[in-house]
Amino acid sequence: MDRQDPLIQKIQGFIDRMPSLSTTVSKVLEVCNSPRTSANDLNRVISLDPVLTGHVLKLINSAYYSLPNQISSLARAIIMLGLNTVKNLALSTAVIGALGKKSSFTTLPMDAFWAHSICVGVTAKAMAVARNVPSTEREEYFVAGMLHDLGKIPLNTCFAENYGQALQLAALEQSSLLKAEQLLVGVDHGVAGRLIGEKWRLSPAIIEGLGFHHAPDQASDEHRDLVATVALANLYANIYEIGSAGDLHPESAFLLGILEIMGLKWADLQPLQSIVNSEIDKAQVFLNLTEKEMK
């Protein structure tokens, strides 16, 4: 990645003013303004918005608090810094985001993007549970899944016309959006995602999830399991068409490769379906979204 590249510089300029998803902002305001907010509701409302989650983790890990160890889970942040601090961080971020710009979704449909993100987060966490990942690490799988496509937000805003063409090309040729992005935008969402992760100082695992969920073989040994889980969860969401982030035609060779990395068969994922559907339903009810808004 050439950081002097004008494309990269344009993306970096956008990252800090990237607003939250309007899908969740009203609920964030409702939950965070309530004096009786529970820790569960606070965690949930933040974690249902990938942009807000990233911003809040960025602030918590910033030099502002100067905490000795990096925090990659909202649950940990809430216990360590307290409900009030996290509420205020979320509130200031969500409000600034909502007022800062009308929408950062010029070509991708925002609500479908949100539904896709939450599906990947929920699926990655369900896979972590099924594969006995230690309970204190499961939240990171959820966050990594929820945030995996963040890189698409600057691309579809900063290069709206080219990005629209990339989406069309991927749809017409039934091919990978990543390749269409490389061809027509010049930067793919993995690269843009890594820029976001690095700028927001997210955990190394989440940064690798943002950067390598289309190439888990490039992930470090330490984080390959998490990255492969996110990659598989992403394919799951795309194949079952739960929400959409423009990547509708996964390559079967890629799917087989990930299953091999993880030592799984596609059939192993079938039991997850009811868990994933139930979690998405709960999120939908929590945010008072209608089914129409989800599609």
Binding site: S66, M80, V129, S135, F142
Partner: protein, 305 residues
Amino acid sequence: MRARFWGVRGSIPCPGRQTAKYGGNTACIELRFAGSERLVIIDAGSGIRELGNFMMAHDLPKGPIKTSIYLSHTHWDHIMGFPFFTPIYLPSTTLQVFGPVNHEADTLETIVGGQMTYRYFPVREAELAATITYVNLKEGRFDLGDGISLTTKYLNHPILCLGYRFECRGKVFCTAFDLEPYKNLFCTDPADPSYDEAMAIEGEFVAREQNTELERFVSGADLVVYDAQYTLKEYEPLKVGWGHTAMEEAIAVGKRNNIKKMALFHHDPMRTDDQLDDLTNIYCRPDGDDRPEIFFAQEGMEIVL
């Protein structure tokens, strides 16, 4: 080291006949170091007014006042005495004010100095004659010179709050107020609709881990000034989440961590002298184990380490 209490109350000053013995001023502690002219002040509650008067009489004749205030946090009972701290009106005074500030809040200068605007007070912060600098402090370890080191630790309170651990010539003085033990804030009842197993497990893990860190922070101190605003009976039904500790819990921390002396601090403003005497009889009697020596902090009390 030598520590002296100028204010031991929490929440609001409560002068009167019923509080004359332990004192009615809010948090302020003077700390001096052997072999050094350095004077450190912990918190600027209403007790700092009398400390300021003392400094005018005893320190100023020796030369210009140079001191630092370390604020545990910026709740009002810990900063309300600042406008009445006389040395800030002297051009010869040099003062550094350290303290933690939440991300979304104003600067430390605005929060502390903001009490000094015409709507609240006849002198504006900008009109103060002393040279005052404000430093936003975080968790970490700092070398203060003169063989003094300072370790700071975030405490569990509704806003960002720091505990201070000063070490000098093998002696350790530590503050841990305003503080509540970390708790799992997430729902742990599987029957509750909002229950989430991962959140519940992680909440439990992090709370336990942070309480261990806190105990490590105060461990081995020669004197710990520890939050003990409530009794356990007062705390458990109504005061959970208010950011304070039950005295039974404070004492248990002291016993577990090889602490030599523990001053129970931040007395509830409703607590009378008689009640504190009664509590002393219950909690501060030697029980065969001579550590820690436990007592309720009193205004004017001086402890040499």
